[in-house]
């Protein structure tokens, strides 16, 4: 169950790691729950990350390879670490 305290603690814990540029927690529907980034950037990340998670889940389902546990998007400037859970998606930018 997600609580305000859990969200606060998780964001603080993840943000304290070296190299972490931002943390976003979004609902599975793409609505941001909490973030350390600007509202514009948060909205964008939440929308696109939920979209990519949906697609990845469909692929995994089609291939019959089990459950999606983790997703990494490695780009030249930043890296997105995506942890999809049942009720929310945790995103770390580094």
């Amino acid at each position: 169950m997600i609580s305000q305290k859990w969200i606060k603690d998780t964001i603080e814990r993840l943000s304290s790691h070296k190299g972490v540029k931002g943390v976003v927690i979004t609902s599975a529907e793409g609505i941001p729950l909490s973030s350390t980034l600007s509202s514009d950037e948060t909205e964008k990340i939440a929308a696109f990350v939920t979209s990519i998670v949906d697609k990845a889940k469909k692929i995994i389902n089609e291939l019959g390879t089990g459950k999606l546990n983790f997703l990494t998007v490695d780009a030249s400037k930043k890296e997105l670490l995506i942890a999809p859970e049942k009720d929310y998606i945790l995103v770390v930018l580094r």
Partner: protein, 154 residues
């Protein structure tokens, strides 16, 4: 001169951007339909009616915002068992999007905001063109004005 098809292009780009979007309607604040786009041509709805109600709901919510002094209304979401209706402000118009129930809300919001900014510009240009008087009407007005001036001299 603005091509009305430009509205349809923006709306169809929006509908293609997200799989859960069924229908997009652009209406003015009085509820008149300006343009619309559908994913399935056989999807049977009364577009004018839906657009008019969406506009009325949006304007009513806007009034609530004014009464509470909480600023401009950006977006209205109505969630139903089997679908969702979003309405966003786009200047002098209201952009209405009808989706499936399991749509990515964040993505729809983002896409609507982008489309609304684009539509606001086009709509402003379109409506200013509509209100510009034709040259003949302008001349008639000038003639009437000079005739009135002459009458006043008497």
């Amino acid at each position: 001169m603005i091509d009305v098809k430009l509205f349809e292009k923006i709306l169809s780009d929006l509908i293609k951007s997200e799989s859960g979007i069924r229908k997009v309607i652009l209406v003015d604040r009085t509820g008149l339909t300006i343009a619309h786009a559908s994913k399935f041509s056989y999807y049977p709805v009364d577009i004018d009616g839906i657009g008019a109600i969406a506009s009325a709901v949006f304007v009513a919510s806007e009034e609530q915002g004014k009464n509470l002094d909480i600023g401009e209304l950006m977006l209205v979401t109505s969630e139903f068992e089997q679908g969702k209706i979003f309405a966003a402000s786009c200047g002098k118009g209201v952009l209405c999007v009808i989706t499936d129930s399991d749509v990515n809300i964040g993505m729809v919001r983002l896409l609507m905001k982008r489309a609304a900014t684009e539509l606001e510009k086009v709509l402003d240009e379109f409506l200013s063109e509509q209100t510009t008087l034709p040259a003949t009407e302008e001349k008639t007005r000038e003639k009437l004005k000079s005739a009135l001036d002459k009458l006043e001299e008497f």
